[in-house]
Symmetry: C2
Subunit: 162 residues, 2 copies
């Protein structure tokens, strides 16, 4: 986490409970779901499904793959998680308690750097207004090479020239 967290009044679990209750056909909060929420909001930042399942496994939490997928979908729908597609990889990150932000993604090491930009958010808002487009969210991914990988590359280039 690099950005300041947004203050929230409820725990992720109770926010999720609220979401479940307000569904058209009311849904249930189960043990696997609670374990997942607790696990995700205790540790992860950006993660994909395979990482998550591996980590759950290491933590001796046996939650089946389908249940993980089904629960993640609900968490996204509930506004607890955000789902991002990055270079054909699907990653999740905290939404609840975390501010809207954009990403720089290093194509070499895969690192994701977060940043906020009022300017960009305002510009998007303006464009939506002028197109009478009702915005529900956005994703900005900037691809490139991060500082460290760039250094490494330059070094290698210098070596290659010898």
């Amino acid at each position: 986490m690099v950005l300041p967290a947004v203050p929230v009044s409820q725990s992720p679990e109770s926010k999720f409970r609220e979401y479940l209750a307000t569904r058209p056909k009311s849904q249930r909060l189960t043990r696997p779901q609670r374990e997942l929420i607790q696990f995700i909001f205790a540790q992860h930042d950006h993660f994909d499904v395979n990482q998550l399942i591996r980590d759950l496994d290491r933590a001796d939490l046996r939650i089946s793959r389908p249940t993980v997928y089904r629960t993640l979908a609900k968490l996204v729908d509930a506004g607890l998680l955000r789902r991002i597609e990055v270079n054909s990889r699907t990653v999740y990150e905290h939404d609840y308690g975390y501010p809207q932000h954009e990403h720089l993604v290093c194509e070499v090491c895969g690192k994701m750097i977060e940043f906020q930009s009022e300017t960009i958010q305002n510009a998007i808002r303006e464009v939506c207004t002028s197109h009478f487009f009702q915005q529900s969210g956005h994703t900005l991914v900037v691809r490139g090479v991060c500082q460290e990988c760039n250094r490494a590359r330059s070094a290698k280039r210098r070596l290659d020239m010898i």
Copy 2:
């Protein structure tokens, strides 16, 4: 196409030929590839692989699925096409001869509205500079509901209230 095209000096095919020639291990321009390029740059705007193959089929161009995938990858690498991930769907659009732009994507009808924003591009450039991040490209997708679908929704809502 809604944005003004960028003037280009070469045809897509010759631009691709140039790309092929400058590869480390030189590659070949084949009949299926030429047909694909001609077809894509004659008609399509945004398309996914299945649409493309269906349309090729209708045009009696039989190019195998693997070849389509392999060629699209090269076209993206050559800078002729851009590849965008939108709501778990992979779509391609012209890159060569078309300016950098962002997308509003309607979650109801799937329409993609293009727009350009100097402000956003500058803001991205600035952020990259301050993070010593060497940008190679970016994707901005704004999700929401377009004007028409919004109208339809409002109308339906009014009806529901009776």
